[in-house]
């Protein structure tokens, strides 16, 4: 019998339609990690809502969480759809899938502004440095000097998704690599518990159009150049914090999230403080100089108010189930209003 999670569901309950992405596409492995993360977190699939723009990456939601609602929107417009939709029932968790073209080209504005509003959303940029679905044009994250078949050589400095997020004062910024599934999964779990927009820039190779060994978005380059900031663990309940066997005090940092869950970060090379925004910027700059793929939780600010916190909304019932009596002003107000008109 298939393994069940704490709420009695099997992994099959979290699957979606069979993928139509290319074999080996990084996006497929992100899909798998999302499925595992939601399964392992014991969340009913109905408590997750999927969003995406347009692109191969944005097709991903079809191939996971078939029992979750999903909205595959317009190119570059995932953030706005998600923002509006999640107000429908603020108890749900939103997962947004986007691509580097979707978020850094046509969607740059919405990407920056959902961050500014800190709308709770697991915002994944499946970053392959290329336009997959339209067959291999440069995206804004393409390497400078990258050569693509029909496009020539890219002369532009790439957009750095994490740097952009930090510049916009994002409250959760991480970089990962589809070739590092464990880290991807841990980050997704943490992101689902973060109260705010969680930006996950996941390098996700496009095997059809941008997987040359020298491309920084390729498997080979990633495998060779990945450097992790820290070993990560996510603990759904902070009270239960049990350090992994070998961990010694001082080697470990712990970030507690608004719901009592915690991220535990074990030192690898150097001590890295993920609540220091400026340190995060410096780390990105250094990684660029050193030509490495620096992955991990770059920055987190667990306590900034999220967008819904700015409205004093009832919490006893989901907003989309609120009955007429609570939405329509009572008849006696009509006279008062008319009086106000002069």
């Amino acid at each position: 019998m298939a393994k069940t999670n704490a709420i009695g569901l099997t992994i099959a309950d979290y699957k979606g339609a069979p993928t139509t992405l290319c074999q080996g596409c990084g996006h497929n492995s992100i899909i798998s990690q999302i499925i595992s993360a939601v399964f392992e977190e014991n969340l009913p699939p109905e408590s997750v809502v999927k969003f995406s723009g347009i692109g191969c990456s944005s097709k991903a939601p079809t191939y996971m969480l078939g029992r979750s609602f999903g909205f595959n929107g317009l190119h570059g417009r995932m953030p706005s759809l998600a923002t509006g939709a999640l107000f429908g029932d603020l108890s749900l968790i939103g997962i947004g899938m986007s691509g580097d073209g979707d978020s850094a080209a046509i969607g740059m504005g919405q990407f920056k502004h959902i961050i500014r509003r800190n709308m709770p959303l697991v915002y994944i940029v499946a970053n392959n440095g290329v336009y997959g679905l339209t067959k291999g044009q440069f995206s804004p994250t393409s390497d400078r000097g990258l050569k693509l078949k029909k496009q020539g050589v890219n002369p532009f400095e790439p957009v750095d998704i994490c740097m952009e997020a930090l510049a916009s004062n994002a409250t959760f910024v991480a970089r990962s690599f589809a070739g590092d599934p464990k880290q991807v999964k841990t980050l997704i779990k943490a992101a689902m518990h973060h109260r705010g927009t969680a930006i996950l820039d996941i390098i996700s190779p496009c095997v059809s159009f941008n997987n040359q060994p020298n491309a920084t978005h390729s498997y080979e380059w990633g495998k060779k150049h990945e450097v992790i900031l820290h070993d990560m663990q996510f603990l759904p309940n902070a009270k239960e914090i049990m350090l992994e066997g070998e961990m010694e005090p001082g080697e470990v940092r712990e970030v507690t999230l608004h719901d009592g869950s915690a991220i535990v970060l074990k030192r690898v090379d150097r001590d890295y403080d993920p609540t220091d925004r400026f340190a995060a910027i410096r780390a990105l700059e250094e990684a660029k100089q050193k030509h490495i793929l620096l992955t991990g939780l770059l920055y987190i600010e667990p306590d900034r108010p999220a967008l819904p916190d700015l409205y004093d909304l009832p919490t006893d019932v989901p907003f989309n189930r609120m009955p007429q009596e609570r939405l329509r002003p009572s008849p006696d107000t009509m006279q008062t209003v008319n009086d106000l008109m002069f």
Partner: protein, 608 residues
């Protein structure tokens, strides 16, 4: 036109127009509204129209107040009384005055009076402003109160009513009320002592505004939406739509506190642009909230792609288009009915649109709440086509009426409904036409039933919301959606018909042209003996009654405020067999149509 024949005593009572020419950003709006409201409180039918420039401060601006005892309140082109406060325009302002009319002007303006057919009244504006004791930075503002006082004295506006107007404006705050009242009274006093009434225009109290309120359409729309139970609003500032949501923000604390928890039941987000505003609203509508956005022309263009998604994915959303002078950035502070065909054919591919056409502030309130019922019932975008004239000017209208129907949330299935369906062996598919009306059933997020979820997309999909590129599926779904719009025709507000005995032709119009049409019809009848039938459209796609009306007339004038006769085009497509009966009477110059222009244009065409 409006006759203005002096009474026996040589006076013209309650039937003239006042135009005030000032510089914008000097607070003259308060003065003008005070005059307007005081007259209204005197029981005299009155309407104000603001003709203002697209900047913040320092340019010429005009405010026209029409006073008409018979209740004809459309814009007129004649100005019986002109108040000239702006040196830059005083010459043209003087030329505006009708022979026999009066010009009030600030006496520091060097003005060679070139006309002897009008009365001129200089006003010592600076002096009186100085004497008011108001601080220097308020001088310009106070100067504008001077003309209120002088005018009040010279045409007979009740001081009590002026105080009532100020009291309303300043929400009862004593100190500004007294400051302003002081200036006004001093000015009136000065006028009484120094000016001799020579023009014939005077006011006399009436009882004709009882049972009416004064409201602008944007406020009405905001209130209507709040009574419609709107839950989510996303917007981006744009003239002349901005005040719609800004006003809503003001009323939310008063009207939308949850009776159970005391918390708010509306979310308003100022988006970073119109693309995001429409995206957020569509997201919210999809999630089961009553969602809307409000914008004007440029915003509609930017939202085009999203409207196509909402159309094809069948998401309810209400869109207020407060139309302004277009194409392009056009005349941002002028009115027009210019986005009709654009909205009708919005977004790539075959689409359909639902449009509502409110007549004035009162209907803006009504459509404000009803629009959500239509959107949720039909699972489609509903465009409310207002305009700057409706939205930003004060309209004398019947009080807003509390919704006479419960909220129609449309075909939503919750957990228990799905269980019931399962029990009955009924199959649910997001895009299945179960009832034969083209409208499928939908579920929304948070529904915990394991079969409730579906995947929404703008790409081809079948009745179960599954991705599909099958040509037959594609055609079937789009045909079914078309059926929904056929259903819409029967649900939406019917046109309003006014028939007259022996009418040689019909008139079709919609929206803010209504008062001008009615007035034109009145003159046609009274002065030319021509009775007319009149159909006022309130919704698109058109109801059968529209076809009937056209069938009943050999000739129909379609009156509208744009260049190309856009509504006529839609009507021609609706009745191709009678397309040539429809004659366009169209002008889009940024100003509300006048009865005189409508009548003359029709008469000219009749002669041809």
């Amino acid at each position: 036109m409006s006759t203005q024949s002096p009474t026996s005593s040589g006076t013209v009572v309650n039937d003239f127009s006042i135009t005030v020419g000032t510089v914008n950003g000097t607070g003259s709006q308060t003065s003008n509204l005070t005059i307007l409201r005081a007259i209204f409180k005197m029981g005299i039918p009155v309407q104000g129209k603001n003709i203002f420039p697209s900047n913040i401060q320092g340019l010429p601006t005009w405010y026209t107040i029409r006073i008409n005892k018979d209740g004809w309140l459309a814009r007129r082109e004649e100005h019986e009384i002109v108040i000239a406060m702006n040196p830059a325009t005083v010459k043209e302002d003087m030329e505006k005055v009708v022979p026999g009319g009066a010009l009030f002007y600030a006496d520091h303006i060097k003005l060679p009076i070139e006309r002897d057919d009008i009365t001129t009244y200089p006003m010592p504006v600076k002096k009186l402003a100085r004497q008011s004791g108001a601080p220097a930075k308020l001088r310009d503002y106070v100067a504008n109160m001077v003309y209120v006082g002088v005018l009040a004295q010279m045409i007979g506006i009740d001081m009590d009513k002026i105080r009532a107007a100020l009291d309303f404006h300043f929400k009862g705050k004593e100190s500004p009320i007294n400051l302003n009242m002081g200036v006004i009274e001093a000015a009136a006093e000065w006028a009484k002592e120094n000016l001799e009434k020579k023009d014939p225009y005077i006011l006399e109290p009436m009882d004709a505004t009882k049972g009416y309120i004064m409201a602008d359409g944007n406020t009405a729309a905001a209130l209507g939406a709040l009574y419609g139970g709107v839950q989510f609003v996303a917007w981006y500032p744009i003239t002349p739509a901005s005040s719609l949501v800004e006003t809503m923000n003001q009323y939310i604390p008063k009207l939308r506190k949850d009776p159970k928890t005391g918390k708010n039941t509306v979310v308003v987000v100022q988006a970073e642009d119109e693309l995001a505003a429409s995206g957020m609203a569509i997201g919210a509508g999809w999630a089961g909230l009553r969602a809307m956005t409000s914008t004007s022309g440029a915003g509609i263009s930017l939202m085009s792609e999203f409207f196509g998604l909402a159309y094809y994915a069948e998401v309810p959303i209400v869109v207020w288009d407060v139309q302004r002078g277009s194409p392009s950035t056009g005349l941002p502070t002028r009115t027009m009915q210019g986005d009709i065909t654009q909205v009708a054919f919005i977004s790539q591919g075959d689409t359909d649109s639902i449009m509502l056409f409110p007549r004035d502030a009162q209907e803006a309130f009504e459509f404000g709440w009803r629009a959500f019922d239509y959107a949720e019932r039909l699972q489609a975008p509903v465009f409310v086509m207002s305009d700057l004239d409706i939205g930003q000017n004060q309209w004398m209208v019947k009080p807003f009426e509390y919704p006479d129907e419960p909220m129609d949330r449309g075909k939503i299935l919750w957990e228990e409904d799905l269980e019931q369906w399962e029990k009955e062996g009924k199959v649910w598919g997001r895009y299945l036409d179960v009832d034969g009306d083209g409208i499928p059933y939908r579920t929304v997020i948070g529904n915990k039933h394991p079969k409730a979820a579906y995947f929404t997309r703008g790409t081809g999909h079948d009745e179960f919301a599954r991705y599909s590129e099958d040509p037959e599926v594609w055609v079937r779904v789009l045909k079914r959606i078309k059926k929904k719009y056929e259903t819409a025709r029967h649900i939406l507000p019917k046109p309003v018909l006014e028939s007259a005995e022996g009418a040689p032709f019909g008139i079709i119009s919609f929206g803010s042209t209504h008062p001008a049409i009615q007035e034109a019809r009145h003159y046609l009848k009274e002065e030319k003996g021509i009775a007319t039938d009149y159909l006022r459209l309130r919704a698109y796609p058109f109801a059968d009654e529209v076809r009937d009306f056209i069938a009943d007339h050999e000739k129909i004038y379609v009156v509208e405020m744009n260049r190309d006769g856009q509504m006529r085009q839609l009507l021609q497509l609706f009745v191709p067999d009678m397309a040539d009966r429809l004659i366009s009477v169209a002008k889009g110059d940024g100003l509300p149509l006048t009865a005189r222009w409508i009548m003359n244009t029709i008469l000219e065409m009749e002669e041809e």
